[in-house]
């Protein structure tokens, strides 16, 4: 049943596959984000309570959910690499960490810029904000471990352990607004059931969200390819590829 997956365990096949899908993800990201961001900034209605500051939502929420989604992906990759000694999984985890860190930073910064006019403060040490900040530090720690060892297998193992220990932070972020009293509002686009949001706001949000998902996938493809090359530099196929690129 899973036989179609086997060829992708080969670094060379995966390298070329990521290269083939990259232009599609890039084009989709550009298209969806162009539509979604213009819609969000100029055409979506202002919120009846928050006015036009609500437009930050279209960046903040996709960035925040992606910061957690990428971490989950990284954790699955780390687990796969640890249990099945699957080396490509380390390469993909190393590719995801910097992307996740950037989106966590965006979630924190847009959150601060939204919090100042709405709550009256840039920052507060409550559960949601603090756990998201810890997520940023986890990403930075994972990135540091990946580059701390000359031996990439050892680096992947160390970073993988930190990644898996840090998974405990994900449910804490997700449920922090329910478990503790906080300034942070509950979720608007609820995952289960009907979203408590008007359709004119939901559509631009979906475009932005999908656009960011495509963008993240495209950037991860680029970084994944670099990681594969760096980890397989002595293989003959990499040598021929590098020789062809430098002509």
């Amino acid at each position: 049943m899973w036989k179609w997956l086997h060829p992708y365990a080969n670094p060379e096949v995966s390298y070329h596959f990521a290269g083939r899908v990259l232009p599609w993800f890039s084009a989709l990201a550009a298209l969806l984000l162009a539509i979604g961001l213009v819609w969000a900034l100029a055409f979506a209605p202002a919120d009846y309570q928050q006015g036009d500051s609500f437009r930050i939502f279209y960046l903040h929420v996709p960035a925040a959910s992606l910061s957690m989604g990428i971490y989950l992906g990284m954790a699955i990759a780390a687990f796969t690499s640890m249990v099945w000694q699957f080396k490509l999984a380390d390469a993909s985890a190393a590719a995801m960490a910097p992307v996740g860190a950037v989106f966590t930073a965006i979630a924190l910064i847009t959150g601060a810029a939204w919090g100042k006019p709405m709550w009256g403060t840039w920052w507060i040490w409550d559960a949601r904000l603090t756990s998201e900040l810890i997520l940023l530090f986890l990403y930075l720690g994972v990135m540091a471990l990946h580059s701390a060892f000359e031996d990439k297998n050892l680096a992947g193992k160390a970073a993988g352990i930190l990644t898996l220990v840090g998974v405990i932070n994900l449910p804490i972020i997700k449920y922090s607004v329910e478990w503790w009293n906080t300034l942070h509002q509950g979720s608007t686009v609820s995952k289960m059931g009907k979203p408590s949001m008007s359709i004119e706001m939901l559509w631009p949000f979906l475009f932005c969200f999908l656009g960011f998902v495509m963008l993240v996938t495209a950037v991860i493809c680029i970084r994944f390819r670099s990681e594969i090359l760096a980890r397989n530099s002595i293989r003959p196929w990499v040598k021929t590829l590098v020789a062809a690129e430098n002509k």
């Binding site: 960046l59 910064i109 950037v219 390819r225 670099s226 040598k239």
Partner: protein, 78 residues
């Protein structure tokens, strides 16, 4: 269109600073990520090529040295 004029669009109902700060910083971070990823890919390829050249040169030097020592040994024998 929700705004009557371009200046109203920039003003964002009084929240202009916060909205444009969010969009500006996010755009800058994402562009930096994209460019660093593309440059990183080129750097990896370049580094592998440099190491490749160094290894080729070393191999050539070793081969020449071996040939020279064989030649000199033959000269001594003659």
């Amino acid at each position: 269109m929700q705004f009557d004029s371009f200046s109203a669009f920039l003003d964002m109902g009084g929240y202009g600073f916060y909205v444009w700060l969010s969009f500006g910083v996010s755009a800058a971070l994402i562009l930096a990520l994209i460019f660093s990823s593309i440059l990183g890919h080129k750097r990896v390829i370049k580094n592998i090529a440099i190491r490749q050249q160094r290894e080729d040169k070393l191999r050539q030097v070793r081969k020449n040295r071996k040939n020279n020592s064989i030649n000199s040994a033959q000269e001594v024998a003659q």
